[in-house]
């Protein structure tokens, strides 16, 4: 059996294998893209946009939780800051084009993210989760007491306006394709980040932080950067959400929302790229279906049960379990 192995052959085999996988991925992504492009003709566009906004929120959260190993329990703060900032600016400055409002909301969330990151990375593990939760509660109090948020009533009638000054976003189809483009751009950005050398360091921090430190990486700087990028994307999701629904409410700032994004990421598959998207789709659909039926008052406990089952029985999430299955049976 001792056949001489040529290293060039091995190299060739690896390249072929890689090419075959890339082809498969390309086909899969192409099919997904076609579905997303055609979807608004079949399904109500506002519902789809809701899924896309939450998917972006979960993708942002997963960059921190799934790839860097930092469990933030305060991501609702960024979603709400993005939403409120964009909503306030678009409602009060009619000359402002929609994309500028969204950019401003994202910037506001980014700045807040810098503050959160610098404070929270001073503690590790479980303390990190508690610090982010407490800081988010502080932000919640601020929004409750501020006049401009409308307090318990929320901020209503945010104008969708025009994109770049000439695309009317009041049209649901225009709005949908705009949200889709932003979502895909962000998804590709996160994919690029995760596969970059920077992303490799993040994964190293997740797997073994002391070793990453001993290899000479300034771990805190990487953590802060990952946190800020995650906060910025979460803010962007909130900004777009407020434009889509023309509404920004306290619910987005509540700790409940921070829990929901954790659930989305966990159910879909933390540490996978597609996982949070699948998870967000799943959770938004479940919530919608439940709210229509006899179980409409039982959404919270049912989400809790899903939480418990996911943690106990399939921690890899939907996408993670499918990947495992494919590897075992078809790979």
């Amino acid at each position: 059996m001792n056949k001489p192995v040529n290293s060039a052959d091995i190299h060739k085999a690896i390249v072929q294998e890689q090419a075959a996988q890339d082809r498969k991925k390309l086909i899969l992504n192409g099919v997904l893209l076609l579905i997303l492009l055609a979807a608004p003709f079949v399904i109500y566009p506002v519902f789809l946009m809701k899924i896309l906004c939450f998917a972006l929120f979960a993708v942002a959260f997963n960059l921190l939780f799934g790839f860097t190993g930092l469990l933030s329990f305060g991501h609702a703060a960024f979603l709400a800051t993005g939403g409120y900032t964009t909503g306030y600016l678009l409602s009060n400055y009619s000359g402002l084009s929609t994309e500028m409002g969204i950019i401003a909301g994202t910037v506001a969330a980014t700045v807040l993210g810098v503050g959160f990151a610098l404070l929270s990375i001073r503690r590790q593990g479980i303390y990190f989760a508690m610090v982010t939760l407490a800081l988010a509660q502080l932000v919640y109090f601020f929004f409750v007491q501020s006049e401009f948020t409308g307090g318990e009533d929320g901020m209503h009638g945010i104008p969708r306006g025009e994109l770049l000054g000439f695309i009317d976003l009041a049209n649901n189809f225009n709005m949908y394709y705009f949200v889709l483009v932003v979502f895909i751009a962000c998804y590709l950005l996160v994919q690029r980040i995760v596969n970059s050398p920077f992303g490799q360091v993040l994964k190293a921090i997740k797997q073994n932080e002391p070793r990453a430190v001993s290899l000479g990486y300034n771990v805190d700087r990487y953590k802060v950067l990952a946190f800020v990028i995650s906060a910025a994307l979460a803010g962007l999701a909130g900004s777009m959400k407020s434009v889509v629904f023309q509404l920004a409410s306290l619910y987005d700032a509540h700790w409940h929302m921070s829990g929901e994004v954790i659930l989305m990421t966990l159910v879909g598959g933390m540490g996978t790229l597609l996982g949070p998207v699948v998870g967000a789709t799943f959770v938004v659909n479940i919530e919608y279906q439940l709210s229509q039926g006899a179980l409409r008052d039982w959404v919270d406990p049912i989400l809790g049960v899903i939480f418990v089952i996911t943690v106990l029985a399939f921690r890899s999430g939907i996408v993670g379990e499918i990947q495992k299955f494919v590897k075992k049976n078809l790979g």
Binding site: L71, L119, S120, R122, R123, Q124, G125, I126, Y127, A129, M130, V131, L133, A134, L135, Q137, L138, F141, F142, Q145, W255, G259, I262, L266, D297, W298, V299, D300, P301, I302, L303, G304, V305, I306, F307, V308, V311, L312, R315
Partner: protein, 295 residues
Amino acid sequence: MSMIFGVPLAVLSGQLLIGIINGAFYALLSLGLAVIFGLLKIINFAHGAMYMLGAMTTVLMFDYLGVNYWVALLLAPLLVGAFGVAIEYFLLRRIAGQDHIYSLLLTFGVALIISGVLVNWFGVSGLRYSMPEMFRGGVNLGFMFMPYYRAWVIVAALIVCFATWFVIEKTKLGSYLRAGTEDSQLMQGFGINVPLLISLTYGFGVALAAFAGVLAAPIYSVTPVMGSATLITVFAVVVIGGMGSIGGAIITGILMGVIEGLTKTFYPPASSAVIFLVMVLVLMFRPSGLFGKEA
């Protein structure tokens, strides 16, 4: 009437009293969190729900079974503690070897279930629990009016805190507990039933929360959602104090209650946020916490 910094003494001392009482609750709750954290290395996100269960059990036992306050003070922590042991045995134990983040998420899910189910049964408006007869009224201390019940809350909380400290630091059971914190595998090797110890520890920590819930029933509005906001504040208290020492948890809890009370007197709008602001300051200047050993 005598004034201090432009505030009548009676108002100031009244707010201070409320602050000390809130602080006693923070101390009891963070003590339970610290006990659980010591052996299980997890943060119990269901702690607020257990506190709420203690209060709800007290009200419901009185309404439906006529169980009086003193019996509830004993029975509610026992029931909730047993419930905690069941949660540990049936759920937390199954993921004991996994990353601690999972057990934290598991307790979060449990909290969602408990409070969600109770919201469905009882709504979010407060249930009424009438003050036990012997605690009605109060005594005039000259500079302020001291309701009997509030005095009792402070005394009871301090007794339980001290008893917990005594058991953990001075008794044989406590020495097992502390040894388990250091190296549970070695202790198992010495023939001590560590899984049982873990179950009982979780049950005991949860029972402390329920005890706080019983104390809270006559003075706070009892609702299925009363636990969550309190728990987040207690998390901030825990971050400020660190969970390294039992005494530290108690002192920080009461101190934060007092600071909250003082803020309510001098600048009311900031009173709900002040503990979180203290947490930010502590993170900036003493990141390991006031009594913390680890970062």
